[in-house]
Symmetry: C2
Subunit: 328 residues, 2 copies
Amino acid sequence: MDKADKAPTLDDVATLAGVSSATVSRYLNSPDVVAKATAERIAKAIKEIGYIPNLLAGGLASSRSRQVSVLIPHLSDSIFNETIESMSEELVAGGITVMLGLTGVSAERTAKLIMAALSRRVDAIISTGLLTPEIEDLLRRSKVRFIQIWELPENPIDIAIGFSHREVGRDIARFLRTRGYRLPHIITAEGKRAAQRRDGFVAEWQASGGEVPTEDSVTIPSRFGHARRAFAEMRRLERMPDVVVCGSDHLAQGIIVEAQFAGLRVPEDLAVIGFGNASLAGEMRPTITTVDIDGARIAREAIAAIDRADSGNRIVDVGFRLIARESA
Amino acid sequence: MDKADKAPTLDDVATLAGVSSATVSRYLNSPDVVAKATAERIAKAIKEIGYIPNLLAGGLASSRSRQVSVLIPHLSDSIFNETIESMSEELVAGGITVMLGLTGVSAERTAKLIMAALSRRVDAIISTGLLTPEIEDLLRRSKVRFIQIWELPENPIDIAIGFSHREVGRDIARFLRTRGYRLPHIITAEGKRAAQRRDGFVAEWQASGGEVPTEDSVTIPSRFGHARRAFAEMRRLERMPDVVVCGSDHLAQGIIVEAQFAGLRVPEDLAVIGFGNASLAGEMRPTITTVDIDGARIAREAIAAIDRADSGNRIVDVGFRLIARESA
DNA sequence: CGGGATCATGCAAGCGCTTGGAATGTCGTC
DNA sequence: GACGACATTCCAAGCGCTTGCATGATCCCG
């Protein structure tokens, strides 16, 4: 307990409680198998010497590290925050800790983080990231639980929980069509998923007789601040769009601010649609029409998948929901 | 390498390379001590059998886990994101992984996360959190590196890296004074730090002859969406404020949107000042006057502090900078 | 050419915990 | 009172790696 001597171990507790260390270990991991009286003595001993289990040793011995790695591109203005927050909450409650990895849009960075996770023998890797072929290969061969979230790959490595980004794009196109918009302008963010939404949108838009929409793109994370440039660029277009399809709600918010600053009314002069249903979307003036993803649900499904036998569903489609509000 | 057989170990590598496992271990941890030829053989062997070190075992044996715990209240709209991002970037480059803990405003949750970190024998805990007296005690007695960031406690447990929130409050008061504002309204977020800024502001404001400002508070995280309610409440005040002092840039942004929606010009009819210099602050219309904190610097100092001998500075004041822009 | 330095490697004792199987104790039953 | 069925507890062999110390090998210089 003192700075001087070393941390108390299981054995110390065992000695104090007059039992073997095996019993203390069992008390810690499955309290119900030790006799009540013994349990009390052990509990007392633990408190008395201030024992803190060593999960490194525990993990080594049991080969379950009680740690999962969560890989996302960024923290700021990120659409994944809700997922991560729910996930973190539930995992911590279950005694599992979260290793955070920020991948950016780089497959190399992702690879490095995955190797780190593997080195720590995590119980699962939950990833939104881009994979190099080598890593994908490695993952397929390894037996680690690998959960891809926020997307639905054709051939998931292990388990996938998400929704179809193409469908999102299509639904947005249909929605805008029924609302009577004619000239959409797309502002995509970097990344595979955003590209799929874009493709879905363009395909559907053209299929229903629209002309090829104008486009722009912004770096990730797709944030408020990109709007100024993107809006300026848009104004240089020959024909002014009547609706802009944004890669995120933050970006949509930025476009609204810029439009209003330029004296345009939203949605009358320029409509805007976002993606993600960030909390601000419902609070903006005007409120932002967007697509809601149930991030908390993704988190729950991911956690449930961690110790699921291989037999379970390998693909979980959580769907999405277009929320029509004021901005489009 | 196959799903069937178990993961290769150091010994497997050693056997293949024709050396002892000790040598392989040395190759991995301090490559320069092994002979060049041996190193090459080992490298080849590692690649050949696809060896992935087991850091649980390594950590147990060396009692350095190469893992640090980072504790913040929230992810969304969080002022700490920049710090976390920089930190994560640098740590990962150094082979250290980040355990993320979301504390909320609860000291109990923080306590639980700290225990979890201790169980994993982290090399350091970097925290923005609130501590219970028991945990503070435990931490003082334990020898774990404990780095408090974004604040400067009078008597830090181990190391503190931050700035004076009172001073921030004071500076804001002085600034608004020189700009000629008369009736500030404060919207604080929950938490000790926000309260200190508020106190600093009020003290200075009154010291310079102002009357007690009106006040409101919002829950954490202090986000855009709180603005609608807070603004509505503010309009019910007997005397309409001429400037609102916000707990965060996101909140400030929200107030600006609400004010403009209500037909007020910012800053002519109502000025707004934020805190944190989020990226949106410089991009909003109008751009937001705020206080800049160098989050990346905090991250760097924190990392530097991880293996600093006890003799170093126990308190690092990184200061802050009021950035006058258009909104106030 | 000898002797101490220096370099590279091996030996083996842990690090603190888990867990299968054995051992002991306790009941209820006939 | 013996016996099988449980309920508890213990023994001891790891889990995969690190590291102090010892051992050879190599080298430099007088």
